[in-house]
């Protein structure tokens, strides 16, 4: 860095861009660039692959009647599901947080738990019991039942942290309870509602397994079919670009509607909790029936179905050792992906928090981008890249691991960020002034202090990778199966009994964080309400 003495007072120069702080260490810059590069790689090769067949061909492909049908199918599903999730999520959260509903603690956990069941397992649960379920309504029902916790969770947390003073002030200013809810409470929880809806919509755009099971054609299903069965990479990539565009529109829409906070932050503030609405006997019965029905449909049916098939399985005789092999593969890939994503998240977070500049902000935004990218799109981009330019990578374990790492990089960044506070900086400075070199300071001070965040990041990515289906189907090494792919093979062969143990194992893996999340909410509620 040049800090040559400029004129008096120091004249402006580009060198001053860094002058407020020290230049970020090279390793952070390199790590940040690598993360950004990995996120961009699939997108770039998606575009390259799509235009390979020529823009004329591409536009012919995209302007087909099929595309319009897919768009209509995808959009009407997204609208219906998002609105249903919002209504159910907000209503359930309000009942659990703000009323005298009996067993609130229990319901707070039970209503979050469906988050721990992969969507395609929910679909499996329903369809294996009732094979006639298919089409639009089946898709809406199943997706709503598996995604509403994404709204319920942040809204409940936000309601628990609401300051009672606001609503009391509104009431004292002459507003009735309903108008208070609309004009005060809803305003307060609005970012949480929107943040939840965003996740729901993006999840819908990315979903493949469920729609395949209920035979409902969306973009993702069509892309998968074009690529896997039609071997038409150009068409698949072209449609993927439309899907990416849809994701970006959703993101922009969320920003435009004022959803600043992605997921409600769950800091524990010991302030006076909002008052609870006393439900009469009739309302208690009604609300209770509602939450029982909701958790019965969302949790009871899939779990019951799994149990049923586990017990009555036997439609296929399979060696019991097989589950262990697939479990080991899954664990191996997921652990490697979690390690990679966490390692990439560290420099991204360090740059974003310590060396605020246009460069570091761009890197951070890119790291969050995969949130809006379906796993299928990322997988397709990687395939396009490896088939053309790095064939040894094609369908290698490394490619699958990289795909997971890209796909779940946002989760890793969130996890690492939660543990990286500004309070670290003075500690590191003191460490330097005590004669330790930067690397020693990082190992002895920074690393131990951010370790919990690294652990959280690792766990989040591990669990998400272990239950990922779509990208895995495209990228898993030939002959090497994971829990998800083996489950899928059995399910598509209607060997439900054989599929059940795989699904059960995946549910077991991802139920842990769902349970922990709901516990955290209960703790919050205890601070806020009661």
């Amino acid at each position: 860095m040049s800090t040559l003495a400029p004129a008096d007072p120091p004249a402006s120069s580009w060198a001053h861009a860094w002058s407020g702080r020290r230049r970020p260490p090279l390793i952070s810059i390199a790590g940040g660039l690598l993360a950004a590069g990995l996120v961009l790689l699939p997108l770039v090769f998606l575009v390259i692959q799509a235009q390979r067949s020529g823009w004329g061909e591409l536009s012919r492909l995209l302007l087909r009647h099929t595309t319009a049908v897919l768009l209509w199918n995808t959009v009407r599903l997204a609208f219906a599901c998002t609105i249903l999730c919002a209504v159910i999520g907000v209503a359930a959260a309000w009942c659990v947080e703000r009323t005298t509903l009996p067993g609130r603690r229990l319901w707070a956990v039970a209503l979050v738990l469906p988050l721990g069941i992969p969507d395609f397992v929910v679909a499996f649960g329903w369809v294996s019991l009732e094979p006639s379920l298919h089409g639009y309504l089946a898709a809406v029902m199943i997706m709503t039942l598996s995604l509403y916790p994404l709204v319920f969770l942040p809204v409940a947390a936000s309601l628990a942290r609401l300051d009672a003073g606001l609503e009391e002030a509104a009431r004292s200013l002459g507003l009735g309870p309903w108008r208070t809810f609309w004009r005060v409470t809803l305003r307060q929880i609005w970012p949480a509602v929107l943040g939840g809806c965003l996740l729901v919509t993006l999840g819908l755009l990315a979903e493949y397994g469920t729609f395949e099971i209920v035979q409902y054609r969306t973009f993702t299903v069509e892309i998968f079919t074009e690529f896997k069965l039609g071997f038409d990479t150009a068409a698949a990539c072209g449609l993927s670009l439309v899907l990416v565009l849809l994701g970006l529109i959703v993101l922009a829409g969320e920003l435009a509607l004022g959803g600043r906070g992605r997921v409600a932050r769950t800091g524990a503030g010991a302030r006076r909790g909002p008052p609870q609405v006393r439900l009469g006997r009739r309302w208690t019965a009604l609300v209770l029936a509602g939450v029982i029905a909701l958790s019965g449909l969302a949790l009871g049916v899939p779990v019951g179905s799994l149990v049923y098939w586990m017990v009555h399985g036997g439609s296929t005789t399979l060696p019991s050792a097989s589950v262990l092999t697939e479990a080991a593969n899954t664990a191996e890939f997921s652990a490697a992906a979690a390690a990679l994503a966490t390692a990439l998240a560290v420099p991204v977070t360090a740059l974003a928090m310590r060396h605020r500049s246009r460069f570091s902000i761009a890197i951070e935004r890119l790291a969050y981008l995969p949130q809006a990218l379906p796993g299928l799109v990322i997988a397709l981009g990687l395939v396009s890249f490896s088939v053309r330019y790095a064939f040894p990578l094609y369908q290698s374990a490394l490619e699958l691991i990289v795909a997971y790492a890209i796909l779940f990089l946002p989760l890793a960044v969130v996890g690492v960020r939660s543990a990286t506070t500004h309070a670290l900086v003075p500690l590191e400075e003191v460490g330097r002034s005590l004669g330790r070199r930067p690397i020693a300071v990082w190992l002895r001070i920074t690393l131990p202090l951010i370790a919990p965040g690294l652990g959280a990041a690792f766990a989040l990515v591990f669990i998400s990778s272990a239950t990922e289906l779509t990208a895995t189907l495209l990228l898993h090494p030939t002959g090497v199966n994971t829990l998800a792919t083996q489950f899928w093979t059995y399910t598509t062969d209607f060997a439900y009994g054989a599929a059940a143990p795989y699904a059960a194992l995946m549910v077991a893996i991802s139920a842990v964080p769902a349970y922990l999340l709901s516990r955290r909410m209960v703790r919050l509620a205890r601070i806020g309400g009661a």
């Binding site: 860095m1 800090t3 040559l4 003495a5 400029p6 008096d8 007072p9 120091p10 004249a11 402006s12 001053h16 002058s19 407020g20 702080r21 020290r22 003075p426 500690l427 400075e429 003191v430 460490g431 330097r432 002034s433 005590l434 004669g435 330790r436 070199r437 002895r444 001070i445 131990p448 202090l449």
Partner: protein
């Protein structure tokens, strides 16, 4: 132990420099306080000296070694400068012992250096504790022991006492001061608390708008501040309009002797500084011990250079009314409104606690001892409250 020299130091964005050509000398073995309001650049200065940030221009030198001159730059870990940040910044995941030993080699740690340091700060029984189990004062002392562990040539303290509550602050301050004196380490203390700066430091340097506006012993700064702002910043002050003539300032309080060693006023008229404890207050009508009326002008001039308070000569003074009394126990600060012909604004007078007078009391006020001419035209209408 080395002398620190900072010359022509610039730092910050060109449009908004934080430090603008700052000059600072810290003699070897001394304790220098850098005193300034928050946002004046104190912390930035410390960070440049410690090497956490680079100066834009200028030079930082410790003894013979150039630390930063815009070209060469010594990284923090090679500077041998101890640093105690605000709130201590103890490593939360390390015990007291490990914190103190952080900068030491394994051999030094085995050799009992840590125990010695803990003994030095009186915390030998807390070696196994973790930072969150310590009180604020204990944390501060651990941070100090940690910084002293490597026998730094220079020690930097960034508002080390501001996070402690008032009762603890005085005690910890005294302990730290004693320790630093004992170790004889060159120290730069940054603070916004004038009382802390005046009571602890050998030298006080006042930082304002990115430059050191005045540097001197606490006594010099208190009695002979360069300008009116500084006078107010360093303590409660009466700034009174005066006409200067031949070593005498003619004011509404009468003719007062100007300090002989202070700079001669440049203009024919200006402000003089009269500290509240230089005002003598008598209840009007009531007899007061040891007070005789004398010829005002003669005694004031003759009083010349004698220290305030040692004078037996009290002055006739002017009449006024007490408007407000701030009672602090050991003393009290009276706000006195002079009667009309004298015209001066509100006067601040400090009297012994037992001499506190209620609002509305009629008094006579007289100035004692020599006064200092200061630059700046702000009359002291709004006194700095609470400066006990």
């Amino acid at each position: 132990m080395s002398r620190l020299t900072v010359t022509g130091l610039w730092k910050g964005y060109p449009a908004q420099p934080v430090l603008r050509g700052l000059e600072l000398e810290v003699p070897a073995g001394s304790l220098t306080a850098v005193l300034g309001l928050s946002g004046c650049g104190k912390t930035t200065l410390l960070r440049v000296i410690a090497g956490f940030e680079r100066g834009e221009r200028g030079r930082v030198q410790l003894g013979e070694q150039t630390l930063d001159d815009g070209h060469s730059f010594v990284v923090p870990e090679r500077r041998g400068i101890g640093y105690v940040p605000q709130e201590g910044a103890l490593f939360p995941h390390l015990s007291v012992e490990a914190n103190v030993g952080f900068g030491l080699s394994r051999r030094e740690r085995r050799g009992g250096a840590v125990a010695e340091l803990l003994q030095l700060v009186g915390l030998e029984t807390l070696a196994g504790r973790f930072p969150h189990q310590l009180s604020g004062g204990e944390q501060q002392r651990v941070a100090l022991a940690r910084a002293l562990a490597r026998r730094p040539e220079l020690l930097l303290l960034d508002e080390p006492f501001s996070s402690l509550d008032a009762s603890l602050r005085t005690r910890v301050r005294e302990e730290v001061n004693a320790l630093l004196r004992e170790q004889g380490v060159t120290t730069v203390l940054v603070t916004h608390d004038q009382e802390e700066a005046l009571s602890l430091a050998d030298t006080v340097a006042v930082l304002r708008d990115g430059v050191i506006v005045q540097r001197g012993t606490p006594g010099e700064l208190y009695t002979k501040p360069r300008d009116a702002r500084l006078a107010n910043f360093l303590g409660a002050a009466n700034l009174i309009e005066a006409a200067f003539e031949d070593g005498i300032a003619r004011t509404s309080l009468g003719a007062l002797a100007l300090r002989r060693d202070s700079a001669r006023p440049r203009a024919a008229g200006g402000l003089v500084l009269v500290r509240p404890e230089q005002l003598e207050v008598r209840s009007r009508g009531a007899e007061q011990l040891g007070v005789r009326s004398r010829s005002l002008e003669r005694t004031a001039v003759a009083d010349g250079e004698s220290a305030p308070g040692s004078s037996e000569d009290a002055l006739a003074g002017i009449a006024g009314t007490v408007e407000q009394c701030r009672y602090y126990g050991h003393d009290a600060l009276l706000h006195i409104r002079p009667e009309e012909p004298h015209g001066a604004g509100l006067l601040l007078a400090r009297v012994h606690g037992e001499q506190a007078l209620p609002a509305g009391a009629l008094v006579t006020v007289a100035a004692r001892g020599p006064v200092t001419a200061v630059e700046g035209e702000e009359p002291c209408e709004a006194p700095a409250p609470g400066a006990a």
